[in-house]
């Protein structure tokens, strides 16, 4: 069995350019009960031009990961180990100046609470101009031209919206304004942290379609973080499934949906009823998500896994490369899937 690190070198030329590479990332949080392991020896690569969907339930560490990529540190957060390489440079070693350049220009983020991300006393236009100015762009005219272009791209009437305050915009409009703002400096990577969770059904659908369109037109790299695996089907090229702070399966979107290999991915897909398909096949995953302060030993999913053996409860599985941009972390994936 090869581990990720071992295969990494041999396959370096096989695949497209890696823009972001996360190695062995381990993050703890100080909580009253002790230490909470939010991200646990996590390995993940993001390729240039792709939309990587990151799916996980609450507490799986997906938002902590997003914040770590931008080095947005919580006071109670302790980075134990690992590195995050953006175009080969370690983000944790950036100077303050480098970090300022990196944020927004290289990587920007749309937060989960985007509906409250805008300053209530500034018009949309000021958000745009101020953001550019903070990054040394003083040419107001070109910024407004760019902002207009981006707002049109997210299907907003720029003449009207630019002059508005945030309370004059609906939730869906705010979310689109914030996204346009995130794209203002042409970042290489945009991280979207639960961008649709606070939106209504119809707005959600529309927003995801617009994102897909922008991605296609501008060829930017995206990380789309969500708890809703169905939304990812619509936009992602590749999907990483997280469980208890780890990536447990990664692969091209069609592989993950049509041929999931990890028992958790399989169970997750079966637990989400949709408006199509055979409704009798949907069933809940038994048990409860692991307590991050006291995670189970061995494979984190073993207490809920129908295929768990003694080994699973004792030995932690590695994230193993098994194909083109495809990884899995399960002792028994071969037997279970009759490979």
């Amino acid at each position: 069995m090869e581990s990720l690190q071992e295969t990494e070198q041999s396959n370096s030329q096989e695949e497209d350019e890696i823009i972001l590479s996360i190695r062995n990332l381990t993050i703890d949080f100080k909580v009253p009960r002790g230490l909470l392991r939010a991200v646990d020896k996590l390995n993940l690569d993001v390729y240039k031009g792709e939309c990587l969907g990151i799916v996980g339930e609450s507490g799986s560490g997906k938002s902590v990961l997003a914040h770590a990529i931008l080095r947005l540190k919580d006071p109670n957060e302790i980075i134990r180990d690992g590195k995050i390489l953006f175009e080969g440079r370690n983000v944790f070693e950036f100077s303050d100046k480098e970090l300022r350049e990196y944020r927004w220009k290289d990587v920007s983020i749309v937060f989960q609470g985007a509906l409250t991300s805008l300053n209530p006393v500034l018009r949309v236009i000021s958000h745009m101009v101020d953001t550019a100015e903070a990054h040394g762009i003083r040419d107001k005219k070109s910024v407004i031209k760019k902002a207009t272009e981006l707002l049109e791209m997210v299907r907003l009437d720029s003449d009207v919206v630019l002059r508005r305050y945030q309370h004059e915009l609906s939730g869906g409009m705010k979310q689109r304004v914030v996204s346009a703002l995130a794209l203002l400096l042409d970042p290489k990577l945009v991280i979207l942290d639960e961008p649709t969770s606070a939106l209504d059904m119809l707005t959600q659908k529309f927003f995801v379609k617009i994102l897909a369109e922008i991605k296609r037109k501008k060829n930017i790299t995206m990380m789309f973080i969500t708890h809703d695996i169905a939304t990812v089907a619509e936009i992602a090229d590749r999907v990483a499934v997280m469980y208890a702070g780890k990536v447990i399966e990664v692969g091209p979107v069609e592989e993950i949906f049509y041929n999931p290999l990890h028992p958790y991915t399989k169970a997750l897909l079966n637990s989400i009823p949709s408006v199509v398909g055979d409704v009798s096949q949907f069933k809940p995953i038994p048990g409860i998500p692991p307590d991050p302060v006291n995670p189970p030993p061995g494979c984190r999913f073993h207490p809920r896994c129908p295929f768990a053996t003694d080994t699973c409860s004792k030995v932690e599985p590695n994230l193993e490369k098994i194909g083109y941009k495809r990884w899995i972390s399960c002792h028994r994936w071969r037997e279970i899937n009759h490979v």
């Binding site: 609906s170 659908k205 617009i210 979107v253 949906f257 009823p273 995953i285 998500p289």
Partner: protein
């Protein structure tokens, strides 16, 4: 046919909103002339976007809000004309499960306290010892074992899924006949949602409960109705736009709004999902309740609307075995 348990007739609820800079008060109509019927042991799934009035309707049927006009009947009696004693009995029989389990428990009281108080208050348990056994039974019934592990815990020490089970235990503790489940699974992790629905439906079989199951998620609605049976009602800006038997409403919507909701529901299938276009809507944003379009409320967004829709309020009428509020339901259902 079983007896009618809960019924609303032409129910209207208006809320007063104050203008910030004078100019008098305005009213918004959160629930607009809604009539529904729920029989004993039956389910009604209520679907709609946020602001559609589905939660307000739920609260009206529980007597938690007083209607502006119209009536709520419980077992044939108008709940606002009941004697004090009758109303108390009604409130024991009608319970609610809220969306957010974390804010539905007192954070400084133990689980035992939260579950035993209603039992003692309604004199179902005569003393604490009896209450202890009852609470233990309830916890076992909702799948929390061993009960002694949970009795003395505080809500902050429990997961969302466990707390929602406790909320269910509390709702059934007084042996009610009617439960409003208001987005009861929306805040839970995907892997736990179906487990909670299964629990609700098991309890229904055991106690003969009736559910008003409020949700915005059509996939969840489908699962609930498939397993538990019942009707689906779709609400838009305070009005019912479609009501019909179970999965049929989702499989073959008669109202354009229902169809758009179905089309906008995420599908866990990349090929199918990517091939679907942007929902055909004239306007994406749901109109404010202070500024409802004249005529059909959906006309400002409906891709099929014409001048009649913009002027004339559609009648809520019977088409086949369904109730639909659309001028063109007949043409629409056959795809014309």
């Amino acid at each position: 046919m079983s007896e009618v348990l809960v019924e609303t007739k032409n129910l209207v609820k208006e809320f007063k909103i104050r203008r910030r800079f004078g100019g008098g008060d305005r009213f918004i109509r959160a629930v607009d002339n809604v009539s529904i019927t729920l029989r004993e042991g039956e389910n009604l799934a209520l679907v709609g976007e946020s602001g559609s009035g589905k939660s307000t309707l739920g609260r009206l049927t529980l007597g938690l809000l007083r209607p502006t006009s119209g009536n709520v009947f419980y077992m044939g009696k108008d709940i606002w004309k009941m004697t004090k004693e009758e109303f108390r009995e009604f409130r024991r029989n009608a319970q609610i499960i809220h969306q957010d389990p974390y804010s539905s428990f007192n954070p400084v009281k133990t689980i035992f306290y939260s579950l035993s108080t209603p039992l003692l208050h309604h004199k179902i348990a005569r003393n604490k010892r009896e209450a202890y056994h009852m609470v233990a039974d309830l916890l076992r019934r909702v799948g929390l074992e061993p009960p002694s592990d949970f009795m003395n815990r505080y809500p902050s020490r429990m997961s969302g899924g466990q707390l929602q089970r406790i909320a269910i235990a509390r709702a059934i503790s007084l042996r009610p006949k009617y439960i409003v489940a208001d987005e009861a699974v929306s805040m839970l992790d995907a892997s736990l949602r179906l487990g909670i629905i299964d629990l609700l439906l098991d309890l229904q079989k055991e106690y003969g409960l009736s559910y008003l199951f409020i949700t915005h998620d059509l996939g969840i609605t489908r699962y609930f109705i498939h397993k538990g049976g019942g009707k689906v009602a779709v609400m838009y800006l305070g009005s019912l736009v479609e009501l019909g038997k179970g999965e049929e409403v989702i499989r073959n919507p008669y109202h354009p709004y229902t169809r758009i909701l179905v089309e906008a529901s995420p599908i866990p299938d990349p090929k199918m999902a990517k091939s679907r276009g942007i929902p055909k809507l004239r306007s994406l944003d749901i109109p404010s309740l202070t500024n409802i379009p004249p005529g059909c409320k959906f006309s400002s967004r409906c891709p099929y609307a014409d001048t009649i829709c913009e002027k004339k309020v559609p009648e809520y009428r019977k088409v086949d075995d369904r109730l639909v509020a659309c001028h063109y339901a007949e043409q629409f259902k056959t795809g014309e």
